[in-house]
């Protein structure tokens, strides 16, 4: 009897430790989500911040707007391309550079610098160095006889992809390198003794062991690129036209530029549902594997 009450008392005080965190998240994430839900069914505006019920009007407007599908398409394509390039580049680099970096950890830090930079400021810096007239890269290319306008309509998509890939390949590299370094030397030795060297040991022993890390990298990078906002916003503002409008920039524009608040909120809710679905599916996959 006394034992039981002792345990429940412990449990009760443990719950008390969770209360501040739960209250905080409830107030600052739960409540806004509820506001969002209400707004998505109302005719909210900057003048009328409570709004009145209008049914599914906002959702119909959101779903029938071809620009939303365009923005969604951009984000999905952008995420798939960037994730693929980043993970592939990082994986190749891990196998090339691992023997070098294992003895000189400080060198890894040099490769990690780009991901410490705010993506917004990274975007501004690229805007400077890619400037058609005075930017360092176009100037050098012109000296070599190739005039390239990186920020023009024809190249802008490739440019925003390249910036994302150059900034975040280091992240993918770091996670995969960390996973690679936890594989014990003994195991590699044993594999070598068994005659597995070079590509064979890479594909049959190392890659399978790095699989959990690979899954995480793909998931994190996909999510992050999918919700991209910062560097594209400062570089192009989503333009020219809607060429580089991601779903995040699309919602921002609906809200702050066009003032179509109800539609913006409806798209937000749709995006929330999509993200939750993706997370649940990804969690299922990870749990089933492990």
């Amino acid at each position: 009897m006394s034992y039981v009450s002792f345990e429940t008392k412990e449990q009760a005080s443990a719950r008390a430790l969770l209360v501040p965190l739960c209250l905080f998240l409830g107030a600052l994430l739960g409540f806004p989500t509820l506001i969002n839900l209400w707004y998505s069914f109302s005719d909210v505006s900057f003048q009328n911040m409570i709004g009145s019920f209008v049914g599914a009007e906002n959702y119909i407007a959101a779903l029938t707007n071809p620009k939303m599908w365009q923005a969604l398409g951009f984000s999905l394509q952008f995420a798939v391309i960037c994730t693929t390039l980043e993970v592939a580049a990082a994986l190749v680099l891990v196998f090339i550079l691992h023997p070098l970096l294992i003895k000189r950890p400080w060198m890894t830090a040099i490769l990690m610098l780009p991901m410490m930079v705010s993506p917004a400021l990274m975007g501004v810096m690229y805007r400077l160095i890619l400037n058609e007239f005075t930017g360092a890269i176009p100037v050098y290319l012109e000296m070599m006889g190739h005039a390239v306008n990186f920020l023009g309509r024809g190249n802008i998509y490739k440019t925003v992809v390249a910036i994302e890939v150059l900034q975040w390949t280091p992240f993918a590299f770091l996670i995969l390198l960390t996973a690679r370094q936890t594989i014990s030397y003994e195991l590699e030795e044993a594999a070598a003794v068994d005659g597995a060297t070079g590509f064979r040991s890479t594909f049959h022993i190392l890659l399978p062991m790095m699989k959990p890390a690979l899954v995480i990298v793909i998931f994190v990078r996909f999510i992050d690129s999918f919700r991209v906002f910062d560097h594209i916003y400062v570089l192009t503002g989503g333009g020219p036209g809607n060429l580089t409008t991601s779903i995040s920039i699309y919602i921002y524009k609906l809200f702050f530029v066009q003032n179509t608040l109800g539609e913006a909120v409806a798209v937000s809710i749709l995006l929330l549902l999509m993200s939750l679905t993706l997370i649940v599916v990804a969690m299922r996959l990870v749990v089933r594997r492990s």
Partner: protein, 281 residues
């Protein structure tokens, strides 16, 4: 004979690894290097054709930026310092006790921990609109504390995951010894767990500070003047009166320097925190 050929092959491979390293390091860091160099050039050197790599450095653009009458950059820097520091401290205060309760008593470990861990996967723009209205109602628009709360939310998942990993590594015997001495859970947390948590606390602080400093979206939406963070303020140099290359480059350099320096110490924790979240989350 075979041995020497073998070792020559090895040294070629080794040299190639170095070539790849240098090439990749230059490629990914090029904008940072180029911007930093530009910030120390005088206007004539900036416009020189071909671009100069060797020049006599000047601090004039830094003086311009820090004393600019149009853009109060020093104020923005202080805003970012405040927002990142306070947001990080809030996140630590909220998550360390929660992590302890989750690991030791198992409360919420099966539902709350995965929910919070996955929060970092949600697109932040979803919350931008309700936050704008909420903050407008309660007068938190364009305030430092308003943005500090946002930075706290952003950092809660990573702080919680790292603290959970830490508490799992604290030997249970230490807790039990304190318990036998009659210490309550709060006292155990304060006198046993907290002193041990210094290294992980530092790691959480570094990562949270970097992430908060680099936040842009909410700074853009929720501030206009008095609480503008560096990431947003730096863009003012580009859009105000055309691009002034020198001052913009100096502003960029100041804006990226704090996270760059902290990142030199923090980067190993990023790898660990990501992998820990997967195994335990």
């Amino acid at each position: 004979m075979i041995v020497s050929r073998r070792s020559r092959f090895d040294s070629v491979i080794h040299a190639l690894r170095w070539v790849v390293f240098v090439a990749v390091a230059l490629l990914v860091n090029f904008p940072i290097l180029s911007t930093m160099l530009t910030s120390f050039k005088n206007n004539a050197d900036i416009n020189a054709y071909p671009p100069k790599w060797i020049f006599s450095p000047t601090l004039e653009h830094y003086r311009t930026v820090l004393a600019s009458p149009n853009v109060d950059y020093v104020h923005y820097i202080l805003n970012s310092v405040f927002i990142a520091t306070v947001g990080t401290i809030f996140a630590i205060i909220l998550t360390l006790p929660a992590a302890y309760a989750m690991v030791r008593q198992g409360v919420g470990k099966n539902w709350l921990l995965p929910v919070i861990t996955n929060l970092r996967a949600l697109p932040l723009i979803i919350f931008a609109i309700p936050f704008y209205f909420m903050y407008k109602q309660v007068g938190l628009l364009d305030t430092r504390i308003g943005l500090a709360l946002i930075s706290c939310i952003i950092n809660i998942p990573i702080a919680l995951v790292m603290f959970v990993g830490f508490v799992q590594d604290v030997p249970r015997e230490l807790d039990d010894a304190a318990k036998i001495d009659g210490a309550s859970m709060w006292r155990t947390l304060w006198h046993v767990v907290l002193p041990l948590s210094r290294p992980v606390m530092l790691a959480v602080f570094l990562l949270s500070f970097i992430y908060s400093w680099n936040e842009f979206l909410f700074g853009l939406i929720l501030t206009t003047k008095s609480a503008v963070p560096v990431t947003v303020g730096a863009t003012f140099f580009v859009t105000s009166r055309g691009i002034e290359w020198g001052p913009t480059a100096a502003a960029m350099t100041i804006g990226i320097l704090p996270p760059l320096i902290l990142g030199l110490f923090a980067y190993p924790y990023i790898g660990k925190s990501m992998l820990a979240g997967a195994v335990k989350g």
